[in-house]
């Protein structure tokens, strides 16, 4: 198992560095989307359009949102519950990389292409998630370029931020 320090470091990659999570609050889909950094620059009207493309899924504790090495097709935003990002360890146990809380998101790289997932995401309690499908984003870019470009820009910023965070960790480990 990873140590707490390591977990914190890895969380810089997996966790939502922009999170404005407020515990115990039950909010509608559109509000969840509004709090998600990928959609932060969308207007209310644009958010409504995106909300129409979202798939709502419910998971039991122990159920996987996605599994490592499977091709990714959708990004998940956690509406309620708790999800752990895990990879298989040397023994039969899983190594926990990060914990994803409500309003955090995961699997956003699947919005770009269908390369295999680098880790698995497992619900540790009853979880509600919103899935945003890559092909819906592609269609949005075609039909509503203004919305599509805002989402892609924010997605690029997030990926860039995460890359910087990981680079910093590598440098700090080197020191």
């Amino acid at each position: 198992m990873a140590t707490i320090k390591e977990k914190k470091q890895i969380n810089a990659f997996w966790g939502n560095v922009f999170s404005r999570f407020k515990a115990g609050k039950k909010i509608p889909n559109i509000e969840v989307l509004k709090l998600c950094p990928i959609f932060q620059h969308l207007s209310a009207r644009e958010l409504k359009k995106v909300a129409g493309l979202i798939y709502e899924r419910k998971y039991h504790a122990g159920e996987y949102l996605f599994e490592m090495d499977q091709p990714g097709t959708a990004m998940f935003i956690i509406k309620s519950g708790l999800v752990k990002v895990v990879v298989p360890g040397h023994t039969s146990q899983e190594i926990e990389l990060a914990t994803i809380k409500p309003e955090d998101f995961l699997g956003e790289l699947a919005l770009l292409d269908d390369t295999p997932r680098s880790a698995s995401a497992k619900a540790t309690e009853k979880t509600e998630a919103l899935a945003f499908f890559r092909e819906d984003l592609n269609e949005l870019v075609e039909t509503h370029p203004a919305i599509g470009s805002k989402i892609l820009k924010d997605l690029s910023i997030i990926i860039g931020q995460r890359l910087k965070a990981v680079n910093e960790q590598i440098y700090s480990k080197g020191d």
Binding site: Y64, Q70, T73, T143
Partner: protein, 439 residues
């Protein structure tokens, strides 16, 4: 990868309960799926008369999705785009129905065509066999196969010859009926010659048939077979087509979302991937096949007009051959059969090409079919249909036979698209299930 016991430390009883729930859920899913499939099959079978209009509506909607996307892209609101498409759809249906109505031969033209066809067929048969004149014994082919060929020609004549009512109608049109010009003398002569040879032979058969009809058809049922009743019945069936078209355009992914919501979490991403890939493949296939059929139909119409066919006939053959081209080889077969039939009765050929006459028109039809088939294989299919789904000829054959046996004309037309959909669905499903390590 282990599934662990979770952060709250569930006990053995909890795990047992979860497993039991999983098992119950699986049973419920299986029973629901079986019931749903059985219900679907029952409805398909019960509602088979409306399958063709519904699928035509779906097909047109599929073709219009990219246009609707384009409208949204250029800033036309979705609702306005749908209204625009629906209006265009109605106008196109009306215009096409009018055009087809104008192209299709009316009652008088049908009678004349049958008369001409029967006369010319017999004339050419007699000329080919060397039995044109009284006392001719025929050529070598006739000497050996004459009896069989005569018998075969007799059955063709029986099918083509006009019955008593049709002959009476012909006589009415002969002197001018329904505000239509009288039938030409030449065709009347054909009619007399045709009638002379068959009228005595068919007299008893015809009366027996009429007796039979009188016994089985009650007098009150006449109204049901009147043209107005037939139009109303067709209207009742085909009204579903614009409705299906409209509702599919209005649907903004709700149908897809409904079905995806039924999918268990484990298969959620697979279902999205399969749905998307199948949707794209079917869309490409339908758009490609429509374009190919249109180009093939247009090519037949243009080439046959150049070869000396009446414009009306060339367009009609092009239309039928184009539609039938959705079934491999069927388009060429229809064009050849219809073109050869017309070539048989053609008397005045006004071709742009001076060497094409009434005598060699049938060869010109053959050349036309070969040219269009070559164009289809070399240009249309590779460049228009592209990498669309290919089906094995045996599957095509069995599909057409099975489809027509089960659902009649609708089954004949829809067999190939259905096979394409099923094939694409199964292929994509299994590929994705493997990619997701589910199988």
């Amino acid at each position: 990868m282990t599934h662990g016991t979770g952060p709250h430390g569930r006990g053995n009883s909890d795990i047992h309960q979860t497993d039991k729930r999983k098992q119950t859920r699986r049973i419920v899913f299986i029973i629901t799926a079986i019931l749903a499939v059985l219900t679907l099959l029952f409805f398909i079978w019960s509602l088979r008369p409306i399958i063709l209009p519904a699928i035509v509506g779906m097909f047109v909607a599929y073709l219009c999705f990219p246009v609707l996307k384009l409208f949204t892209k250029i800033g036309i609101p979705r609702a306005a785009g749908i209204l625009l498409l629906f209006g265009t759809f109605f106008i196109v249906v009306m215009v096409v129905a009018n055009l087809v109505g104008a192209i299709l031969p009316n009652e008088k033209e049908q009678l004349v065509l049958r008369t001409r066809f029967q006369y010319k067929l017999n004339e050419r048969y007699h000329a080919f066999m060397g039995i044109s004149k009284q006392g001719d014994t025929g050529n070598i082919v006739y000497k050996y196969l004459g009896d069989d060929l005569d018998h075969f020609m007799g059955s063709i004549n029986a099918a083509l010859s006009l019955n008593r009512e049709e002959r009476m109608l012909f006589m009415k049109y002969r002197i001018g009926y329904n505000h239509l010009a009288p039938i030409k003398d030449k065709y009347y002569e054909y009619f007399l010659k045709n009638t002379h040879s068959v009228v005595d032979r068919e007299q008893p058969t015809e009366s027996a048939k009429n007796d039979g009809e009188n016994k089985t058809t009650p007098a009150g049922e006449d109204n049901e077979t009147s043209p107005l009743a037939a139009i109303m019945a067709a209207f009742k069936l085909w009204i579903i087509m614009p409705l299906v078209f409209l509702f599919l355009l209005i649907d903004d992914g709700e149908i897809k979302r409904f079905f995806v919501a039924l999918v268990p979490n484990r298969y959620f991403e697979v279902s999205l991937a399969v749905f998307d890939k199948v949707n794209k493949a079917i869309g490409n296939y339908l758009r490609g096949i429509l374009m190919e059929c249109s180009l093939v139909g247009l090519s037949y119409a243009i080439l046959l007009s150049i070869f000396g066919f009446e414009i009306k006939m060339a367009v009609m053959i092009g239309l039928f051959a184009g539609i039938a081209n959705a079934i491999p080889l069927m388009g060429a077969g229809i064009a050849l059969a219809c073109g050869a039939s017309y070539a048989l009765i053609a008397e005045n050929v006004n071709s742009v090409l001076p060497f094409i006459t009434a005598d060699n028109l049938i060869l010109a039809v053959l050349v036309c079919v070969i040219i269009v088939m070559a164009m289809d294989n070399v240009i249309f299919q590779p460049f228009v249909v592209g990498g669309a789904v290919q089906i094995h000829p045996l599957a095509v054959f069995l599909g057409i036979i099975g489809g027509s046996m089960l659902f009649g004309f609708a089954g004949l037309i829809l067999a190939i698209p259905t096979i394409v959909v099923v094939k694409e669905f199964i292929a994509t499903l299994f590929t994705e299930l493997k990619d997701y390590y589910i199988i």
